[in-house]
């Protein structure tokens, strides 16, 4: 084995840097899942009857479903009765300012480098911080509300904006959509809601930091973003989680609705605990993300950088219903050590002249296994629909894997679908070339990997792109130059 391989190995063997546990008393539901659990969650959150009924319907359906086995991932069977479905930091009074937030909680954020104060003062990013299951602080709300923008926790939206929730909740991902979406619909704890009124361009990037903290608590986030006619919003989601021994289940649902001429840009940087080198511990990330371009000329873009989780199972998709609507999916997925990812997108073309672009970059190191799975469906009425897909895989070393499963269904003869795929191995030649110019192997690997991901990174908002490069650096090597 050459030194170059050694250095790749060394870099890919790096451990998760952000594993620490915050010591905060949690108010948890008893272990297990039944109708009573669903009722308990609903009552804890003081929900109206319609919300409980919606949850119960989802639960009843979930009981009839079985876990999907088609993804190219392997994990021990999950005992759904052995998990805790609700956990909230014990804070009895609601907060008016950041100063009232539990200092222990604040320190955790500071360790992650996302001090809310700093966020507030310097970055101009409004942060709805979801710590475990309850939103503890929401900033910039005032500024946003002056524009008529609603950005709040999901529970608050259920209380304050029931008409919007009732209209749009489940309109993109129905309760019965799939096993994990149904589970989420029954027991979702909290999440974010965002509404941009007609013609409003949201002046700042909206951002939520999720963090799974209490031991053995499944996280069931629910996000709903509605962009009314002619509006624009860019939403950032970034995640890290502390070190854990036992696998943690995360089954979130994200729904996006873009009305006519509206545009939603949804960016994710995901860095959950991937498990140790042997694959022990780590988050199971089973997420349903979907958007609908319901009006003409609307646009939804998903950009994701997935570096964490033991298992990633997600297919952020776009239903292109409105004529001339546009769907985009840009993805970087990293699997290292024993990580497994089965991820991709679904582009469903219904309207005329609809366009979709898919750029997927998979990076595998260690014993990681990376699968791209994508569906491009052109329905009968989607005259002149266009799709372009590009799936590239980069392998670091000899023990990792990359797979591509493209599904293409075309029912309209005027449409055009293109698919390109490539697999390459980070070359000893490339690394030696860099070293011969004076770069260290670490910088060389970094540069090559970042170059490989460039098409995706440039779709991210600037400050997020920097963070994404950093995360990629952390999962594969020391630092990004």
């Amino acid at each position: 084995m050459t030194k170059e391989n050694d250095s790749i190995e060394q870099l890919t063997n790096q451990e998760y840097k952000w594993g620490f546990v915050t010591d905060i008393e949690a108010d948890s539901a008893p272990r297990g899942l039944s109708e009573d659990t669903v009722r308990l969650i609903s009552s804890k959150k003081q929900e109206p009857a319609w919300m409980l009924a919606w949850r119960l319907k989802a639960f009843a359906h979930w009981k009839t479903m079985t876990e999907p086995t088609w993804p190219n991932v392997h994990y021990p069977k999950i005992d759904y009765q052995d998990a805790i479905y609700y956990s909230a930091p014990k804070q009895k009074i609601s907060l008016n300012s950041l100063d009232e937030v539990d200092p222990e909680l604040r320190r955790t954020y500071e360790k992650l480098g996302i001090s809310l104060e700093e966020q507030k003062r310097l970055s101009g990013v409004a942060v709805d911080a979801v710590f475990d299951s309850v939103s503890v602080a929401t900033t910039f709300k005032k500024n946003l509300s002056e524009l008529g923008i609603i950005f709040c926790s999901f529970s608050e939206a259920v209380r304050e904006h029931p008409e919007l929730i009732r209209q749009y909740l489940g309109s993109v991902v129905p309760q019965t959509d799939n096993f994990f979406a149904a589970l989420n619909s029954a027991v979702f704890s909290d999440g974010s809601f965002c509404y941009i009124p007609k013609g409003v361009r949201c002046p700042m990037e909206l951002s939520t930091y999720f963090r799974i903290n209490a031991a053995e608590t499944g996280q069931f986030e629910r996000t709903l973003i509605v962009a009314d006619e002619g509006s624009y919003v860019s939403y950032l989601e970034g995640c890290t989680a502390p070190m854990r021994d036992k696998n943690q289940l995360h089954a979130a649902v994200v729904e996006l609705v873009a009305l006519a001429n509206a545009q939603i840009k949804y960016s994710t940087v995901q860095n959950w605990y991937p498990g140790d080198k042997e694959g022990k511990g780590g988050i199971y990330n089973f997420v349903t993300k979907r958007g609908i371009c319901s009006g003409a000329n609307s646009k939804i873009s998903w950009t994701q950088v997935e570096t964490g989780s033991a298992i990633t199972w997600k297919y952020p998709g776009v239903i292109l219903k409105g004529d001339n609507s546009v769907g985009e999916f840009y993805s970087v997925a990293v699997t290292n050590n024993r990580q497994q990812a089965d991820t991709g997108t679904k582009m469903i073309h219904i309207g005329k002249n609809t366009k979709s672009t898919i750029v997927s970059k998979g990076i595998s190191g260690g014993h990681g296994n990376n699968s791209y799975r994508g569906l491009v469906q052109i329905q009968k009425g989607a005259t002149n629909a266009r799709n372009f897909s590009q799936c590239d895989s980069l392998l670091l070393g000899d023990t990792c894997g990359a797979h591509t499963f493209p599904y293409i269904e075309v029912k309209n003869t005027s449409s055009k679908v293109e698919h390109e795929a490539s697999t390459s191995k980070i070359g000893e030649d490339q690394i030696f070339y860099c070293k011969q110019r004076g770069l260290s192997s670490e910088d060389a690997v970094n540069m090559i990997v970042n170059g490989f991901c460039k098409e995706v990174f440039r779709e991210l908002p600037m400050e997020f792109a920097v963070e994404a490069q950093k995360l990629l650096g952390i999962s594969l090597e020391g630092s990004v130059g």
Binding site: K3, F432, Y433, L439, I448, G451, F452
Partner: protein, 252 residues
């Protein structure tokens, strides 16, 4: 500057270099010629520190230091530059970004301040003039989509930016047309000083019309079998290498 003594090197158990002796002083240009498979490129790669080649015996001193003990990146930072015969592509990484990172890594090693973007670009522009490079090559990814000639020119451009003490040109002339050959050779000549040295590895005498060597060495079966003044290159062009091989066999 460079002193090679009895260098033996093998790859996958096959001995390629079988006892090379070579001494290069500052300010000199040495040409290494030889038939296919004689070990010319291996010698270049071993000097640059390619791990795939195993040095089984011998010694290489570079400015008084043990070169073989140094990592490839440290050799580069100490001023050894290899112009590759087949420069690799690095998709998505712009030529400018790559070179700036490389230069600053070298400068840092030498205890110099890193150059900021403004100073770097000013310096780069000046160096581009030497090689009559197209400006668009700067923003394009390293070697990606470059023609063979552009790649070779880019190597010498990198050499100009990194300003090495010892430059090793591994068949830089292959794949170049006459005009490109002249530009590349002119570039190398302009970069020559009393302090630096150039080792030119080539098959053909053609390049040596432009980069005139002080000494020509002939490598046969992993050893330098003959050294002489620049006229030796012309003789080789005329007579080929077989007579040298025969001489070797007679000696053996």
């Amino acid at each position: 500057m460079l002193e090679i003594k009895n260098l033996h090197a093998s790859v996958n158990g096959n001995e390629i270099l079988t006892g090379v002796h070579l001494k290069v002083n500052a300010g000199e240009v040495h040409a290494i010629m030889g038939p296919n498979g004689s070990g010319k490129s291996t010698l270049a790669q071993v000097l640059a520190g390619r791990e795939a080649y195993e040095v089984t015996a011998g010694e290489v001193r570079y400015n008084g230091k043990d070169l073989l003990e140094m990592s490839p990146e440290d050799r580069a930072r100490e001023g050894i530059f290899l112009a590759f015969q087949y420069p690799v592509e690095i998709p998505g990484v712009s030529n400018t970004y790559f070179l700036k990172a490389a230069l600053n890594s070298v400068r840092k090693y030498r205890g110099l301040a890193e150059l900021d973007a403004v100073d770097f670009l000013a310096m780069v522009k000046q160096k581009m003039g030497i090689l009559e490079m197209d400006k668009t090559l700067l923003s394009r990814p390293v070697n990606e989509g470059f023609s063979g000639g552009e790649k070779k020119r880019n190597e010498i451009f990198q050499m100009a930016v990194l300003d090495p003490k010892l430059a090793i040109l591994d068949e830089t002339d292959s794949g170049l047309d006459i005009d490109a050959l002249r530009i590349v050779a002119d570039g190398v000549n302009k970069l020559r000083t009393k302090e630096n040295a150039v080792v030119v590895v080539t098959h053909y005498q053609r390049l040596l019309n432009y980069i005139v060597p002080d000494v020509v060495h002939v490598l046969v079966e992993g050893r330098i079998v003959k050294s002489g003044p620049k006229e030796l290159a012309l003789e080789l062009e005329e007579r080929g290498y077989d007579w040298l091989k025969e001489e070797e066999q007679v000696k053996a």
